[in-house]
Subunit: 206 residues, 2 copies
């Protein structure tokens, strides 16, 4: 599909570089920009530039933050003895939305993935190690995706953090709430049997 304008072509190709966006969708987005109020479209472009140039990160946990320290790390009622390690901001927001976690976070910024050329040095590991070396933390929760890369990263951290006298836990894997057993895949069902809990303990979460 050859476009009749180089300017258009350029913007479409930038939209195409977003995840899950093909050429048709990119063109649809670009034409929408032209249908918008001109001022809104200009502000769109300016906001992208401003975001990339000015967005800051928390110096403690690497969460996105307008100030030097993010709202969660700065919150006086948060339990700094528990650190939950997540891949990125979206996972952090997902955990926050459960209202079940009152500790602090550490945002790795990705997971180890040799195929994509991402090793431990590309992630925020060293700052996690120095946080733990301070000695206030008593438990680290690995809340990484349940994929090959996520599991590899958890295992790497587990080995790396062995020397610290700190409890390491991982999110429970099991049957999703509301799901039928017959439609749950074997791996998940298997993990849910291995990780079974005393009944009164399991009910405590309700």
């Amino acid at each position: 599909m050859e476009l009749p304008s180089k300017l258009l072509e350029k913007t479409v190709s930038y939209f195409e570089s977003l995840p899950g966006v093909g050429r048709r969708t990119a063109l649809r987005y670009t034409l929408q920009l032209l249908k918008m109020q001109k001022e809104d479209a200009l502000n769109f472009g300016a906001s992208v530039i401003k975001l990339v140039e000015e967005l800051g990160f928390c110096s403690i946990c690497h969460n996105v933050s307008d100030g030097d320290i993010c709202q969660i790390c700065a919150h006086p009622k948060r339990d700094t003895e528990t650190i939950c390690v997540v891949e990125d901001l979206r996972d952090l927001l997902a955990i926050e939305s459960t209202s079940q976690y009152y500790g602090v976070y550490h945002v790795l910024g990705g997971v180890i993935s040799p195929l994509d050329g991402i090793g431990p040095k590309d992630l925020h590991f060293e700052s996690l190690v120095s946080r733990l070396a301070e000695g206030t933390c008593k438990e680290v929760i690995f809340a990484l995706p349940s994929t090959m890369e996520g599991d590899t990263t958890s295992f790497y951290m587990f080995k790396r953090l062995k020397d610290f006298n700190i409890k390491t836990t991982s999110l429970a894997r099991g049957v999703a709430v509301g799901n039928e057993l017959q439609y749950t895949d074997e791996l998940t069902l298997g993990r849910s049997i291995q990780g079974r809990l005393p009944y009164d303990n399991a009910m405590r979460t309700f």
Copy 2:
């Protein structure tokens, strides 16, 4: 889902204004911008601003164009006696990709839609009328979407163009090539019977 940064919030809300993009997808796009090479992300923003400020339109057919007149209108072998009226650039590209049309176009920039407050005056009707008044055009093809709004627009144009001694045609509605009759909806099948063609005529397109 409350975001921890106002800068982030702003860009996410701009992405949300694109068609079919919800809050989660908008956040995904925004985080991708932060993962990109900084230069690429800056160029993304700059290209949006440049597009909105500098993109030009053909002074004849309102197609997107880098020059005053678009490649199609300027092409010496295009048949200027036939004008195909389309809603927007995407429909024009779709027709171009068939390689079955050698005439020129007229891009309306939308369809009449009272619910969205779009009337004939918001579209490029008047320039179509003045093109026809020049007298070179012999046929106008209505290639608008097969929706309530598209049909309304075609009917409006039909009434408006009656006084000109010009043939007006509409795209054929019928069973899509490769589709089974039993899975075609009644309306489409009904239209395909009404619009049936002599067999030798129908085969000519192959």
